[in-house]
């Protein structure tokens, strides 16, 4: 009996007030009904509220508030400045050589890391897509870089790319490149520093992207390959003519992901520097990225307003590039069909 009473009938809430006036048992029923109504109507909102509250407070609000701060004078060491700066921060940005240099570096490293990363991930994925012994172990193995902290791996690579006893120069020497007498100074100019940093990024993310591609590859119908093989397409041709066009959505996804990540590159260029706390990215900013410059301007030069203007500019650039990427990748991959 008691279960039947507790079980709420859809119409009961209309009858409830009337019954509520008489007797203790009925009042409990009403109370339960109210609880039930609350549970049905408002509980879902309570359950999703934490996400929206946290996102508003620490995600969306800061992002937009950045726009306000970028129009202000906000120096941590000089609170006496006039409140509003107007567009001053932005006009300063346009003529700021450091900013354009950092933007140039960011794009250079971004291209050197994204393109090889995704191409190699495709190749690794197509290797993993065959019938393998100890399949799981191969997949787990390529995730070693993914779980390694960037802070730790950057320290290792930083030593690999040292001029005199670095592993990178030694290996190149084995192939007769860069030779023992004239070792490459990886921190001396843009191209070398960019390659070194891009190598760290590539190392970290190839395995992860390969797994994303592998997942998509496994959902391709087997008939397509059979047909292609009958037409005489070898594995390499199959990869480029069938697999790639068919996993296009995930390729677009990874391109957008690496764009967002690549434009914000911070840890690798910071710790590649022998004097990492300076955040200058080399003596002449050879590899200073925007992420690093924002950190330097905000927390070393204590000019948060100007740093906010840079963040805001980077936000807009990221949006534009991500949009362009989607368009371009769609067209390139879709054009084959």
């Amino acid at each position: 009996m008691s279960t039947t009473r507790a079980a709420p009938a859809p119409s009961s809430h209309r009858a409830a007030p009337e019954r509520g006036r008489s007797g203790g048992d009925d009042r409990r029923l009403t109370w339960r009904n109210r609880l039930y109504r609350f549970d049905m109507r408002y509980m879902p909102y309570l359950m999703i509220a934490p996400f929206f509250l946290i996102f508003l407070a620490f995600g969306l609000f800061p992002l937009l508030f950045n726009g306000v701060v970028s129009l202000r004078n906000y120096r941590l060491d000089d609170p006496t400045l006039p409140y509003w700066a107007g567009v001053e921060n932005f006009s300063k940005l346009l003529g700021d050589e450091d900013f354009w240099n950092a933007l140039y570096n960011t794009f250079g490293i971004f291209l050197l890391s994204t393109v090889p990363q995704l191409l190699l991930a495709l190749v690794v994925a197509s290797l993993l897509n065959r019938k393998l012994r100890a399949q799981t172990w191969w997949r787990v193995g390529i995730l070693l870089p993914y779980v390694t902290p960037i802070v730790a791996s950057t320290m290792v690579f930083s030593v690999f790319f040292s001029r005199d006893f670095g592993m990178a120069n030694w290996v190149l020497g084995l192939f007769g490149l860069g030779g023992g007498d004239t070792p490459i100074d990886w921190r001396a100019d843009k191209p070398h520093a960019w390659i070194a940093i891009a190598t760290m990024v590539n190392w970290k993310w190839i395995g992860y992207n390969a797994l994303l591609y592998l997942a998509a590859m496994q959902s391709i119908s087997k008939d397509v390959y059979e047909a292609a093989a009958i037409d005489g397409a070898g594995p390499w041709k199959q990869l480029w003519r069938i697999t790639v066009p068919l996993i296009q959505p995930i390729i677009v996804f990874t391109v957008v992901l690496s764009t967002i990540g690549g434009l914000q590159l911070f840890t690798e260029p910071m710790l590649f520097d022998l004097n990492s706390q300076a955040a200058t990215g080399g003596p002449n900013g050879e590899w200073q990225t925007i992420g690093q410059l924002i950190y330097k301007v905000g927390w070393k030069d204590l000019n948060l307003g100007y740093a906010a203007a840079m963040s805001w500019a980077l936000f807009v650039i990221t949006l534009i590039i991500a949009g362009l990427n989607t368009l371009l990748t769609n067209r390139l991959a879709g054009g084959r069909k």
């Binding site: 946290i54 996102f55 960037i150 802070v151 320290m155 199959q238 995930i250 990221t318």
Partner: protein
Amino acid sequence: MGRAPQDTPAGLWTYLLLSVTFLLAAFPLYWMFVIATSDDQALAKLPPAVIPGNQFMVNINEVFSLQDVYFAASLVNSVIVSTVVTASVLFFCSLAGFAFAKLRFKGSRALMLVVVLTLTVPNQLGIVALYIVMSKLGWNGTLLAVIAPGLVTAFGVFYMRQFIVNTVPDELVESARMDGASTMRVYANIVLPAIRPAMAVLGLLTFVATWNDFQWPLITLSGTDFPTSMVAVSDLASGNYVIYRRVLAGAFVATVPLLVMLFIGGRQIVRGIMEGAVKS
């Protein structure tokens, strides 16, 4: 007769190339260990040292007894931050995922769309303002500033919703309701037991990401004596004369927990990444 790649037994070349890939993926980690166990001379050798030395305890002791970097405390901080964030992400994301997957309420579709859209918002771009928010709250320099922004994630909500939609039958939820179970009861008795695998995946991914975070902890905890272990490792390398066997010993110690997780939960991590991919 042609066969799909996934039905073609891998040949020698495939194994060879995969082995090379694996070696390249593992070598930096192995070499980190080599230097962490060596003396100062090991770095100045050509050809480079590739065999671990016997100085591991010496280097470790040095790292832990440094006066200006409280390494042990920073490890404890990392454990606290990652554990709290992981527990909270699991709880709040599974709750929200359940609501979006199985409960009917006004605006649920639109709100879910908002969740998906927020997946593409890079929090890092609001970092200056986030710092200002935290200083208004008085949280800068405390672990709260590191923990709070990570308490619940859009990815987690999305992931949980997908999993619950696919694995928890509507009938089960309905019948529990008929028996008078409240929403939280349904969550505890029906949803939770069913989503254990997804909890494991999300938990592992969240723990790894939180443990490895560097930029935000560096900004909000800089100047404090007790940062997270990632900031502490970078502090090891910040002096004028950097002792790399010490830096890499510290880096190695801070990496070991994640290697253990990969070793134990590798299968789940792989599945998590692959499933997250197909559905997004």
